[in-house]
Amino acid sequence: MTLARLTGVAALALLALLPFAASDYMLHIAIQILIWGFIYTAWSMMGRFGLTSFGHGAFLGVGAYVPALLWNFCGLTPWLGIPAGAALAVALALVIGYPSFRLRVVGHYFALVTLALSQVVLLSLVAARDLTGGSLGMTLKTVGHSWYALQFAQKSYFYEIAFVVWLGGLAVWRWIDRGIARTALDAISEDETAAAASGIDVTREKLRVTVVSAGLTALGGSLLTQYIQYVNPETVSGVAVSLQIVFAAIAGGMHVLLGPTVGALFTIVLNEALRIVFGIHFIGAANTIYGILLILFIIFMPRGIVGLAEEVFARTVRRPRAALDAPATRV
């Protein structure tokens, strides 16, 4: 156990020091993996309990646009804008979540309600084109290197911020995983009626995890905008990005801590690699292969990459050893 922990700490230290070794391009990829990994982790907090939201694009969009609008039009620092965006996303999650959970909108229906929500946010952003620039998107007013505006010329700053936020996301995931709420949510996802009958406040438990997930997703959206300094309704809201979130989290494995991050790593690296292989002549080739892989994933390994790896590991390494250990501990 201590060996495993030491390796973990060493790996984290190496990751934190990455900006000193990597090129700008590598750093750019790494930042994207961290931010999207954080967003996918936030989604999987709900997803793993059967709350399959197709509407995280809504929270992401709110998180991406609110701080940007406040900064561009009111000059409000993102340090206040980002919490404002997260608060709005949480409010949205409550407005949709409370009636959904109260009235037992589950499965397909919950997916479709959240899908509608993400379309509402997308279309509202496009419709408010006087403010948001519509489908053309919006550029942040740049001020150069500034902590106040959270804008940095060097990628290393962003890398460290994204790294800390990502770690925070993992910590929250772990906190939920270890908490009593996890048992309750597991019970709910198994059988809602039985859970309610055994004294679990179904609505409250679901709402809590939804609120956390929505708030964190919004934070991820804000970081994306701050980093790229440009935001476009299609890339942060609507059906496409919502599905992207669901798929990457599932491809990585939503039931394990690092699964969603591996999902981000896998999808982003795959995309980059395919883009390099096919160049710009075959636009769409990368996503075509991605689409096929998604279908194969759902059919053949619904527990995702990390889920599958863990299963194989458990079958080949852990179980025989555990069987050997058991008599020894009894003595």
């Binding site: 059967g50 399959t52 949709i96 009636p99 959904s100 009235l103 909108v105 499965g107 397909h108 229906y109 997916a111 479709l112 309600v113 899908l115 509608a116 929500l117 379309q119 509402v120 279309l123 509202s124 496009v126 419709a127 609507g238 059906v239 496409a240 599905l243 669901v246 798929f247 599932i250 075959f282 636009i283 769409g284 080739a285 990368a286 996503n287 075509t288 991605y290 689409g291 096929i292 998604l294 279908i295 994933f297 759902i298 059919i299 619904p302």
Partner: protein
């Protein structure tokens, strides 16, 4: 009465016809196989591209191109069932939703790869029918009429033919139908073919009015699901009515506000309706 408002209302009715046809196909598949094809609108996109290429590139007659497109998309429907749905029939419903979601990605990207992101149209100009100030696009009127005929034909098939009766029966009770000597697999495949065929039929009607591009499915795919749910998933008459309700909201809303805002209204109505009447407008 305001002539433009009347225009918007008539447009709404005409749009409703095509949406109703789409909702019908999706509803049939949901009702019988109990699977939501989230890539349904992408099948329509395939049909539109097929007609476009056969017509402008190979100079086939339009009618023949349409027939080929309908058969082609029907075949595609069968393939979707065989390759994607069958392996996940036993998995949780959400996995089935996701598997067809992967298909959505695949078809959109494949279309981008093959045809680029250009907007393409047949270059046909169908005449406007005019009565004084009031005018109706012939293409839309044709689409509306054809959609009604298609829906009627499907209704007759489902209620009057043996196969149609078997399809309706299997939607009601999967186990018993097997005992009655009806092969579930064959019914599923037939249903997928009909669902695909309806998507192909819708693509013939849409290609006359809209430009085709790889992401056209995004513009009417989500609204089709909302219509199905609003009518009660699996309830065809409900879906038919809901299509006209939604299309009226979209076109009248578009008249008073902006087109995006009218869609926002439609989606909000959907969310509220799920909370108030989850069984659909005609559900019991």
């Amino acid at each position: 009465m305001d002539i433009f408002l009347l225009d918007a209302a008539v447009d709404g009715v005409l749009l409703g016809g095509v949406l109703a046809l789409l909702a019908l196909g999706l509803n049939l598949i949901f009702g019988v196989i109990d699977v939501v094809w989230i890539a349904y609108a992408e099948l329509v996109m395939c049909g539109m591209y097929a007609i476009y290429w056969l017509f402008t590139f190979f100079h086939w007659p339009l009618l023949l191109a349409c027939v080929v497109a309908i058969l082609g998309v029907a075949l595609l429907g069968v393939l979707v069932h065989l390759l994607i749905i069958e392996p996940v029939l036993g998995s949780p419903p959400i996995n089935q939703l996701l598997a067809t979601g992967g298909l959505l990605f695949f078809l959109q990207s494949l279309a981008t790869l093959l045809f680029g992101t250009d907007f393409r149209n047949l270059g046909l100009r169908l005449p406007l029918l005019e009565w004084g100030d009031f005018s109706v696009s012939f293409a839309r009127l044709l689409a509306f009429a054809a959609a009604l005929v298609g829906a009627g034909a499907l209704y007759l098939f489902l209620t009057r033919s043996f196969l149609g009766t078997a399809i309706r029966a299997i939607a009601q009770d999967r186990e018993i139908m097997g005992l009655m000597g009806v092969s579930q697999r064959r019914i599923y495949l037939t249903t997928s073919a009909i669902g695909g065929g309806l998507a192909g039929f819708a693509s013939c009607l849409l290609v006359l009015q809209y430009d085709v591009h790889p992401f056209i499915g995004n513009s009417f795919g989500p609204i089709t699901f909302m219509i199905c749910v609003l009518g009660g998933l699996g309830n065809m008459i409900g879906g038919f009515i809901a299509a006209f309700v939604m299309s009226q909201i979209i076109s009248i809303g578009g008249y008073y506000f902006s087109i995006e805002f009218s869609y926002v209204l439609a989606f909000l109505l959907f969310i509220v309706m799920i909370f108030v009447r989850p069984q659909g407008i005609l559900g019991r």
